[in-house]
Each structure stands twice: as C-alpha cells, then as structure tokens.
C-alpha cells in the first residue's frame, strides 16, 4: 500500500537505484499479501521463495514505457502499447510458481510482450525461449533483455501457435496471452512430466488460468486456478 502511494507522488526521474530496490521489496510484500488473500483459489498461502526472489531482483521499471514508470512497482497491469499489457506482478508470480521451474529446465514463453515474464523465467530456468508476434514489441523487449544481461533468453518474432519446434521439448511452457483453445503443437512440445500455464476463453470474458500437466505416459490433465483477464493470443508462421 505504502509503495503504491510513494510511486504515485514521486516523479520517475527522481528515483535512484536504491529507491527501486525498496519499491521492489514493497511489491514483493504486496504480492505476498495477495497470495494470502487468494489462498482459497490457489490452495496455498505462500509462493516459492525463489520466485519471490526473482520478483525482488528483476527491474520491472525497465520493461514498461517511460510514461508508465512511476507505476512500475504497483501491483497492477500496465498498458505497453498496441492494446497489450504487462501483467499484474501477482499474476506473473503465480503463473511462474505454478510452473515449478527447476534450474535445469528449458522454458518456452508465448507472448514476450514487455519481456518482464521472460526475465523472471531467466532467473529460474536454464534456458528461455520467447516468441512475440508484434514486431515493435519484439524489438523493444529483446533490447531490454539484452541490456539487462539476460543472456539465457532467446527471442524471435513468430507464430506462437506452433511453439518452437527446433528447441522442443520443453519442461515448462507459459502462455501470456488468451487463446480460443490450447494449441495442439504446444501440447506436443511439452515434455512428459512437464507443466503448462495458459489462460483460456473468449478475449473479453473473465478468463480462467489453466494449469496443464502431462504425466509420464503423455496423458493430459488440467486444473482451473483463478479468474483473470489477459490480452488475446497472437502468433505467426515461421
């Protein structure tokens, strides 16, 4: 709460690096509070400590447009242009937690958007592959990820529907845009024992966050997690 008010009244240009660190810590606390508040839906009272540390480390303000920087550490989605948004940090944390990422994992992200989610994944996984359809967003996100030194992230503009065949299979897949159905190629590219998080539904309805798990025999089981709004899935052929 305090972080929110601070961010509202202090111009972005006045923030020093230590201020951002403090704001991120406030954000982490806000997310922890949200997790406790939504424990009924998500069936847990705290997220993985490594996920929370990633949130505390990744400079979200570097991934949002200049005009939105003063709001970067508020726990809410922000517009990033082209009708797209950077997800609410709580949702980013929750989706990442659901993936149960190990340090040796290979992760695929559909919808790079601002690049923030890819940066969080980069802190936790061995390699991250991220696909974005809107070229301008792709360039902006790639530049930000490169400048911040996230060298284990590979990005490209392509059709997210087909995943990334050359780099498949993946231990975890995260889809940060809504789709009318789960793309079959993504299910194929998920390793047995792998986990995928995807929001499902029509673009303007309240969405459900769905966790898909593929067991060792290749059987799929899904679980509905939390009502949440996302932007529509976009994708492109190679």
């Amino acid at each position: 709460m305090f972080a929110g008010w601070t961010a509202l009244f202090i111009p972005a240009t006045l923030y020093a690096a230590s201020d951002y660190h403090t704001l991120r810590q406030h954000l982490v606390n806000a997310i922890k509070q949200d997790v406790r508040n939504t424990s009924f839906y998500i069936n847990k009272t705290a997220l993985d400590a490594k996920v929370m540390q990633a949130i505390a480390d990744v400079p979200r303000h570097q991934f949002v447009p200049q005009s939105q920087r003063q709001f970067a550490y508020l726990n809410r989605p922000l517009p990033i242009g082209h009708g797209q948004t950077i997800s609410q940090p709580y949702i980013v944390a929750l989706m990442t937690d659901l993936l149960k990422i190990k340090a040796s994992d290979k992760a695929l992200e559909i919808g790079t958007g601002s690049g923030y989610q890819a940066a969080i994944l980069a802190k936790l996984a061995d390699k991250v592959y991220s696909i974005e359809i809107i070229e301008e967003l792709y360039h902006r996100a790639t530049k930000a990820l490169h400048q911040l030194g996230y060298d284990n992230v590979t990005t490209r503009t392509a059709d997210g529907y087909y995943g990334w065949q050359q780099a498949a299979p993946f231990d975890v897949i995260v889809v940060t845009a809504a789709a009318s159905h789960v793309p079959p190629p993504l299910i194929k590219q998920l390793k047995p024992g792998g986990r995928m998080v995807i929001p499902i539904g029509s673009p303007f309805m309240v969405q459900q966050l769905v966790l898909l798990e593929k067991d060792s025999k290749g059987n799929i089981r899904s679980q509905q997690i939390l009502p949440v709004r996302f932007v529509a899935l976009t994708g492109k052929h190679d």
Binding site: N43, H82, S180, I200, P203, F204, Q224, T234, K236
Partner: protein, 817 residues
C-alpha cells in the same frame, strides 16, 4: 409585444427537422460508441449525455429574459451549434482515448469519462435550448410545437434506420450534421423570410456548412476504435487487413484476413485434438464479437476438429436427418452438420449481410456452403421462425450465440434476450421430433452462472410442457471453455448414455449431469476445486431447488419473456461480500453490465437533483411562485410523473411488440415511430381543449383512457399476438401501429395540456419544468430497465399507470390559480 408574438407563426418545420435529427443522432451515437467502446459503456455515456436536455431547462430558467428578447438569433444559433457540436464533440471525445477497464486504478480515466459526458451533452443542450425556448415564446401554440417535436422524433427513428442501412456510421455522422444545417436553413426561412437580404446571406453560409463535412478528408470521421477491442488487436499482426466492411443497424461487420498468421477460432475444442483448423476469415461485429468463415474444400478430414468440440455431442448420440441451426454466423455449425452427413440443414440467421458474405462474397472460400442442396438459409429472427413454422427436427442447435441477438444488436444497448427464456425453450422443444435434442452451448464461467441458469430454465420449460421428471431428459457436459446442455423431449435412452460416456471420455470432456450420474464420474479431466456443475445440476433437480437458487451467490432464476434478462446474474445480497474481496481476486465476480446500469442511474439522479435544485436557489421568481401558490411542487411532481410514465409505457410495450414482430431493429423502430407520431397527433388534438380552457376534463379523460387501454393491452396483447403470429410481417406492422395508435394518442395530450395550464398560472416555471421533464426522460429509461430486471415488464407498466394516476391527482389539486 405579446400580440406580435401571437401573430407570428412558430417555426414548425425547423422544430420537426431539428427533433428528427436529434433523435437520429442519439441512436447514431449509441452505434458509434458500441463500435469504438463496448455497448454497456455506450449506454451509460449516451444516457448521461442526454442530461444536456435538463441542463438546457436550468439555463433557460436563469437566462430566460435575455434569450426571449433575442429569440430569433438565439434559436437559429442553437440549431447551428447543434450541427457543429454533433460532429466535432464526437470526434473530440474519441480523441480522449478513454479505457473503461483502467478506471479501477487510474483516476485520470474518470476525468476523461466526465469530459466525454460534457462534450456529448453539448449537442443535446443546444437542441433543447431551441425547442424549449420555442415552447416558452409561443406558449399559446404549445400543443402544436410539442406535436412538431414528436412528429419529427418519430420520423427520426425511421430515418436513422434507413441511413444505417445505406451508409457506414462514420458517414451517417456527416449526414446528421448536414440535416442539422438543413434545419437551420429552414429556421432561417421561417424567421427571416421578410428580410430577403439577410435570408440570402444566411442560406449561403448554411449551405457551405452543410457541404463541409462531405468535402473534408475521411480521416476527419475516422472511428478511433479502442486498442483493447479484438479487431484492433488482430490488426496489430503483420499482414492482417480488413478486406470487406458492411454496415447495418445490426452492427458493423468487418471481414479480416491474415495471410501470414491464420485465424484458428475453435472454441470448445478438446485437448485431444491433433488437427489444425483450416484457413479462416475472421468476421468481427462492431469490432468485437468474432465469428469465422472457414475455408471449405469439402475434405472431411480437414473439418474433423469440429467433431471434437463439446457442441458435437448430439451427433454422437443418435442419427440426425433434420437439423435446425439457430444463429448460422460464419457457418461453423453448418460445417459440423455437413461433416455428419445430415440430410436437411435449416439455418436461421438474423443478419442478412452475414448471410450474403458466406453465400455470395465468399462463396468459393466457404465452398458454397450456404448454397448446398441440403442447406436451407432462413433470414429471420429465431423465435419468429420457430413460432411461425410447423416443421419438426431431430436437433435444434444454439452454439455460443449472443452476437446477433437483440441484446447485442448494437442499436439498442439493453441486455434482454428472448432466445434463452422459459417460453423460448418450450417453443424449441415443441419443434423436436420424439427423442430428439435441443443442444445449447455456452461459454463456461467460473463460478458457474450461464450453464446452471440454463439448466434451471430447461427444467422449468420441461415442467411447463408437462414433463414430470425433467431429470430424465437432460445432459450437461463441460470442456475447458464451454458447456453443452442437451434437452430431450423424452427420457434419454441407456444407449444414448453409453454414447455420451464414450464421447466425453475420448475428448476429455467432463460429465456434469445425465440421468443416473454419480459424483465419482464427475470432475475428472478439467479439475475444479469442487464438482460445482454436478452439484448445481443435481440441486436444481432436487426438492430444495428453490432454496438452492435463493442461496446461490449468483442469480439463477430462469429468464422469462416478461423478464428476458438471461445475462443478469448479479445479486445485491452478495455485494458487500464481493466488495470485501476487492484486491483479493474478487473483482471478476462482479457482473459489470448490471452495475454500470446502477452507476448510470446514480449519476443521472445526482445530476438531476443539481439541475432541478439549482434554478430554485438561483432564480427568485421561481421561489416566489412557490411561496405564493406552492405550484412548483405540484408542477414538479406532475411533469416528473408524466415523464417517467410515458417512457415506462413506451419501453415496456416495445418489448411486448418485439415478441410479435420478432425482428429487433424493425420492431423497435416501428413501435417507437408509432408511439411518437401518434403522441404527436394527440398533442395536436389537445389544442382544442386549450383554446376552450377545458383542461381538467381533457386531462382527466386522457389519463383515465391511458390507464384503461394500457391495462387491457397488458392482459390481451399476449393471447392476441399468439393468434396473429402467422400473419405476414407487413400486416403485423400495420396491426401493431393500429394497436399503438389510441394509447399513444392519449399519451400525447397531458404534457402540452399541463404546460399550457402552467403558462396561464405562472409562465416563469415553464423552463424549469422543461428541465424536470429532461431529467425524467433520462431517469425513466434506466429505471425501467432496472425495474424490469427485478420485477418484469408487467410491473413497469403497472407502475407507469400509478404515475399517470398520481399526475392526475397533482393536476386536479395543484394547478389552480
């Protein structure tokens, strides 16, 4: 001075023309905002903008003397300003880039919304100034001026339909601006025809103003669609472009191709699917609701994915020869029926332009789908077709159709739908062959809403049709995003249940209900915290179903033709509980459509209080009138009650006639025009009582006759419409107009009679009651919908009759010298 005014002829023609343009503009604004924003926000914005009428009343009260002294130029200037502002204020308002969803956390959006209200209120303010000032200046001709106003408005409701059929909404905006300038030209001729020199100069100037919108580049009227709407987001993808656009009052249709990135719209698809949908063209309505036209190369394997959607269930339970698809859209359900080699496929589609796209413009792409020998396309509204047709079917299919129902037709942003009422389901069931199915697929909401409400509606419909064990005739399954409900007109066989289990298991769809289901069979593939759908379905079939509906946190009460609000799930009982979940993931539980309606009412109420009280505080003459006669109390209640009652009756009867005429656009425009034009005739007729000062008798008679006619219609229209439902549409339109005529005629009398009487008692109060009437108009439209949601349209009519009774009391008691 008074004698001179009495000799002067009021500007009838320009008043009628202005009124016509204003009503057309109001409906056009609703269309424009439904395209660039979302229809429920369009409804709120336009409702609040109409308070411009009430602002005018307050303004006229305060500046009465000055304005009357300069009547001619002021009258003309207001018409010209209406023309200019109607165009420029809309263009400015869409430059504000209002994003409704951001309002929750970004207060700047609230200021943008307020600014939009102000901008859009301006045109209506100018219109009301011109008409209100005329009523005050020529108060001896009040009934005729009011008649001209109503005639014009009636004509406007028809003119806008024609304009929206022949032109795109952006271009119609140019036309309404030009019509306003024509009204100004008429006004110049009416007011200055004795001054040839001035008249020529005015006409020349206005002629230029009329032409200007048409010669400016199209970018001036370009619609700025919200970047968060589906169409706009699709256009972000490289190579994507709009290839065809069609417009009608039912909506703006945009056909979009994406050669680099194919659309793959297949809602409800199984997780087991392996085939990718073939190439598709996306069809957006009002830049939002999306359907697709799928490339059809008549190769069944390419369409196999459709057989893996939840709506394919009925095809796996029995052999189907004769299928009726309600809401054909781009043809996906027709392709599914073709995939299953159905012998006869009937497709009902309301939107002729959508049929034309599939049938003519993209006939090769769609593989001549709508011209196939076994496909019969019917361009009608679903209920109208079902009631006027004796044919029986093996399957009646409704899949994810909201886009082309009355609720989102775009023209009138109310949320009523006659497709999912108890009576509608009864009618569908009556058109089924023995053992056949009615299949309804809906988007799945969590916590469950649509699906369980539909389940409750099906139980009610089966019971009304005489089935004692509805539980034996229902099946409910769910996938990741959709639920499909099957309703049979006889008990479901054991072989059908076996097929159901096989299909669901193969496609990973969860069983939620079938006769004889056990809880252990549910919630297996797409796991919820609890088997909510199974629990809800069994509770609704149990003895305590009423108690379950009462306790459930969303409204599951079945919709009826009297309360056709299927999509209203909100319950006030859980308001505080949901509010306490704000910031805890609870906001998606709110039903925003309903709350926006409430927010509109609250805003309108607050604005009305300010607009009505302000002149009382600022204008001494009104306070003096009150202190001497207390007339302003009676006048306030008389005109408030009249304003509320008139629109209550009009709105409620429009709903009744929709069920008779069926087509949402035609029925609304015909009924609205009939109401306004016949009310205009009534106003004209009331002149004879005014000149003889027979106010009391005229008002008493007209109000009593309104009460008698409206009461008898409430009882008789239902049976009468059932009797006449098979008649040709034109005959039905004529009958509707004849039925409306006497009621509307008498409804047109009390307002001008009251105004004229008030002018005799204290003419200072005229502009103030004009404001009261303006507020009442805005409040009544919102209030009528809210009351109908909770109590039904019959209740709205009864309340209107009480208001009429009350206004009679106010007149008899208070309008004395």
């Amino acid at each position: 001075m008074t004698i001179a005014i009495q000799r002067e002829r009021p500007p009838w023609f320009s008043i009628a023309m202005l009124s016509m343009t204003a009503l057309a503009y109001e409906i056009l604004l609703m269309r424009l905002f439904s395209i660039i924003q979302w229809h429920h926000f369009a409804y709120m914005i336009i409702s609040l903008a109409l308070l411009g009428y009430a602002c005018s009343g307050s303004f006229l009260t305060l500046a009465r003397q000055f304005l009357l002294a300069h009547f001619k130029p002021v009258y003309l200037l207001n018409i010209v300003l209406f023309g200019i502002s109607s165009w420029s204020c809309f263009l400015l308002s869409q430059q504000l880039h209002f994003n409704a969803e951001e309002m929750l956390w970004h207060h700047q959006q609230v200021f943008r919304l307020l600014l939009i209200y102000l901008l859009l209120a301006l045109p209506f303010f100018f219109v009301a100034n011109a008409i209100g000032l005329s009523l005050i200046r020529y108060h001896s001709e009040m009934s005729r001026i009011y008649a001209a106003d109503l005639f014009g408005a009636g004509l406007g409701s028809l003119v806008i339909i024609v304009l929206l059929f022949i032109s795109f909404p952006g271009n119609v905006l140019k036309t309404t601006t030009a019509l306003a300038m024509l009204a100004a030209m008429l006004a110049s001729w009416e007011l200055y025809r004795d001054n040839k020199h001035l008249l020529t100069r005015l006409l020349s100037l206005l002629l230029v103003a009329t032409i200007v919108p048409f010669v400016l580049p199209d970018s001036f009227t370009q619609l700025e669609i919200s970047p968060y709407k589906t169409l706009k987001q699709s256009l972000n993808i490289s190579g994507t472009k709009i290839i065809t656009e069609r417009s009608s009052p039912l909506g703006l249709i945009s056909v979009v191709e994406s050669p680099l990135i194919p659309f793959r719209h297949a809602p409800g698809l199984s997780l087991k699917v392996t085939a990718e949908p073939p190439e598709q063209l996306a069809v957006f309505v009002d830049a939002g609701a999306m359907t697709v036209i799928t490339r059809n190369e008549k190769q069944p394997d390419k369409l196999s994915y459709l057989n893996q959607t939840s709506s394919a269930l009925a095809y796996h339970l029995s052999s189907l020869d004769d299928v009726l698809i309600i809401g054909g859209g781009g043809g996906s359900e027709v392709l599914l029926a073709q995939y299953h080699h159905v012998k006869q496929i009937s497709v009902v589609e309301l939107n002729r332009q959508l049929i034309n796209l599939v049938q003519h413009e993209y006939e090769d792409f769609s593989g001549n789908l709508y011209d196939a020998k076994n496909v019969n396309i019917i361009n009608k509204e679903a209920r109208g077709y079902v009631t006027g047709n004796d044919k029986k079917y093996d399957l009646i299919q409704l899949s994810l159709i909201d886009s082309f129902s009355a609720s989102s037709a775009g023209l009138y942003a109310l949320s009523e739908s006659y497709l999912y009422t108890v009576e509608a389901l009864q009618q569908y069931l009556n058109k089924l062959k023995p053992g056949a199915y009615l299949s309804i697929t809906r988007w799945m909401k969590l916590p469950p809403r649509d699906s369980l409400k539909l389940f409750a509606t099906a139980i009610e419909a089966l019971r009304h049709n005489g089935h004692r064990s509805p539980g034996q005739q229902l099946i409910l399954i769910r996938g990741l995003q959709t639920t499909t409900l099957l309703i049979s007109n006889s008990a479901i066989s054991s072989s059908a249940i076996q097929s159901l289990k096989k299909f669901s298991h193969q496609q990973l769809f969860d069983l939620a209900y079938y006769p004889g289901i056990s809880q252990s069979e549910t919630n297996q593939y797409n796991v919820l915290a609890k088997p909510y759908f199974y629990q809800g379905a069994t509770a609704l079939l149990g003895n305590d179903s009423d108690d379950f509906i009462k306790r459930y946190k969303f409204n599951l009460q079945p919709a009826t033709d009297d309360r056709p609000f299927f999509f209203q799930f909100f319950k006030w009982g859980v308001f505080s509980e949901i509010m306490s979940l704000a910031g805890k993931g609870g906001m998606p539980l709110f039903e925003w459509g309903y709350l926006i309606l409430v927010a509109t009412l609250i805003q309108a109420l607050l604005a009305s209080i300010v607009l009505i009280l302000l002149p009382l505080f600022l204008c001494r003459s009104i306070r003096q009138a009150g202190s001497v006669y207390r007339i302003h109390y009676y006048a306030f209640f008389y005109f408030l009650a009249l304003g509320l009652a008139f629109l209550f009756i009009e709105i409620a009867f429009i709903q009744k006639f929709i069920l008779f005429l069926h087509h949402p656009v035609f029925s609304i425009s015909v009924v609205l025009a009939a109401f306004l034009i016949f009310a205009g005739a009534g106003s004209l007729w009331s002149k004879r009582y005014i000149s003889k000062s027979h106010y009391q008798n005229a008002i008493s008679c007209s109000l009593i006759l309104i009460i008698v006619i409206a009461s008898s219609y409430s009882l008789l229209l239902g049976p009468l419409f059932s009797l006449l439902t098979g008649l040709p549409t034109l005959l039905k339109i004529i009958i509707s107009a004849l039925l409306i005529a006497p009621l509307a005629f008498f409804m047109g009398m009390p307002f001008p009679l009251g105004l004229s009487r008030l002018a005799e008692i204290n003419s200072q109060l005229l502009p103030w009651v004009w404001a009261v009437n303006g507020c009442a108009s805005v409040l009544s439209a919102v209030l009528a919908t809210l009351l109908a949601v909770h109590f039904g349209f019959m209740f709205v009519i009864m309340l209107a009759l009480l208001f009429y009774g009350f206004s009679l009391f106010c007149f008899s008691t208070g309008f004395k010298l």
